[in-house]
Symmetry: C2
């Protein structure tokens, strides 16, 4: 996509103007707002050319141009320069994120709220991917006959628990025994590597009958496997209704309808971040049609990765209209990510 210099400037100017005014940009307005040293007719020619290249579109014949998805893409890839936040903005984010909470979920929720408020868009955070984290503790507590609680403490201080059914006959003492042997042989093991077999072998010296044991083992196994299920926090959906992009009720409805399936969003984010795990870009941008989810055609995703300890990471990001100030939003996300990392580091 080799654009000559003036065409680059034109595209950049059109994106900038369109983003800030939400009005299709015409050749005349372009001349007025920017210091082009050529006439509007020349720009018209350039714009026609950019349109032929698929970077611009016309809503209708006698309107100005707006960027196409491809136009935004070019802008994001080559044209924009990423903002630096002002001191005030930085301080604002900083003060909202740093807090005395020491629960991962709360910290994430906090970051999500901050992100949504500062960008004005929908923000999201995924719980950390725990499959490569390891167990530090695992306790099975008897609650009442037939019912037990599996509590797992994972590296990086994440706690998971699940209530499971167990055979009625098992006594608290037996459960304690199982709990101890399981913990002993499993602690330090990455979740990924725990299988029914490792689990079963951890208790093979027990004198409890196999049939009873197996059920407990099975339940413990599902509890462990369930521990790395990813949750997603979405925040600020209502903010989308204030954007001119969704002033048509139909669009707004489709958008919020889609966002209400948060599993869908989570799956998508997970997918694109996995696909890009090798590229060590600080952030990922998906624009308009690039997003393969119905209802989000007019949106862009911007996501990035937070770190929690060495091996554990997760994603945060925003969903906004594709007509957004990419450079600003990206710098906001980057900063939030930065502060979030700091905050999570405090936990360990």
């Amino acid at each position: 996509m080799a654009l000559d210099e003036r065409k680059s400037l034109v595209l950049q100017a059109i994106v900038d103007d369109y983003v800030s005014t939400y009005e299709p940009v015409g050749s005349k307005a372009l001349i007025e707002r920017h210091n082009f040293s050529v006439s509007s007719a020349t720009l018209r020619n350039d714009m026609a050319e950019l349109e032929r290249m698929g970077l611009l579109e016309k809503p209708h014949t006698s309107a100005g141009r707006i960027p196409s998805d491809k136009g935004y893409r070019e802008y994001v890839n080559s044209l924009m320069r990423v903002d630096v936040l002002t001191e005030a903005e930085q301080r604002d984010i900083e003060s909202r994120i740093s807090s005395s909470v020491n629960d991962v979920k709360d910290i994430l929720r906090n970051a999500t709220a901050t992100l949504s408020e500062t960008t004005g868009f929908v923000s999201l955070a995924m719980t950390p991917r725990l499959n490569s984290s390891y167990l530090t503790q695992l306790k099975i507590l008897m609650i009442e006959p037939g019912k037990a609680l599996v509590v797992m403490v994972l590296s990086a201080g994440v706690v998971k628990d699940k209530i499971v059914r167990i055979p009625n006959f098992l006594t608290g003492e037996q459960i304690r025994e199982i709990s101890n042997s399981v913990e002993k042989s499993l602690s330090g093991m990455p979740l990924d590597e725990i299988t029914m077999i490792t689990l079963a072998s951890s208790v093979k010296e027990s004198e409890i009958p196999d049939s009873l044991l197996n059920q407990v083992i099975y339940e413990a196994y599902t509890a462990i496997k369930q521990a790395d299920k990813l949750d997603v926090y979405l925040e600020g959906e209502h903010r989308m209704l204030s954007l001119p992009d969704f002033s048509e009720l139909g669009r707004a409805r489709d958008l919020l309808g889609t966002l209400s399936h948060d599993g869908m969003v989570a799956g998508y984010v997970n997918e694109i971040e996995k696909a890009a795990a090798d590229k060590k870009d600080a952030y990922m941008v998906r624009i308009g049609q690039e997003i393969a989810i119905e209802g989000l055609e007019d949106c862009s995703f911007i996501t990035t990765t937070y770190q929690m300890g060495d091996m554990i990471s997760g994603n945060i990001g925003i969903i906004g209209p594709k007509r957004m100030d990419y450079s600003k939003v990206i710098s906001q996300i980057n900063f939030v990510r930065h502060k979030l990392n700091d905050e999570l580091k405090k936990l360990t």
Copy 2:
């Protein structure tokens, strides 16, 4: 509010018609759709009278009438007869709610989703009020020096945990000792009755220095007190956008903006349910202006109480447009509540 019989019928008919058509109801349309044995002029007189009584309103001079908040109130209190769900509806709800999950949160979320889907409105569920439940188990687990996990199992099988900071010097053995004494003296005690004093006295025989002990006790105390914090699940916000009542973007925005503060909603529900704890009505209805929350003037709340064991209860309900089919929605909520109670009973 003594209405003569015909006026009652007129009000009832107007509410019914308005709810189903969303068009102001005129005298002529009323005659056509219902078997009144009088003329439209008579109805006009009645309607004028009902308006004078504050039960009806006119959007403008030459339109039909619509019910006022007071009109809906009268309708709900005296006029409507509560529907019975069809077999099919019942089966539908039943199949969605009964499941093999055995976690209270999941069950509640499930019920909320069902409720929102069947009514088409926003639904909500509050986590159970646990202040009168009692502790059955309390464990403090050492995670790493300086950090411990407080796990509480409450009656009715609710589990809560919280990571707390503890003095770095404390050993796992000491923590275990504290954990045991605390559990011993606190289990069986209602959350309400646990104070710093009861907690402190439970460990007074320990040989651990007071200064260390106190910090642990304090952290445990906050963990316990935090356990009865009420969460609220809101579901189906986007559905409101499909309703004609919120076809104006401004209204929709205000509504969703308000709903996004879910603490506010939770607080309100809690309040009205507490205020009505004595009246053993199956459900509570709050209509339009009766709701003292900005942004919900065009909505109604319908809430009801679910039971979990003997002493523990919580609320579920819906938030819909005040122009809704009250009798239908009420029967839906009642049925969901019923099934939810069944489901929760299975847990114990």
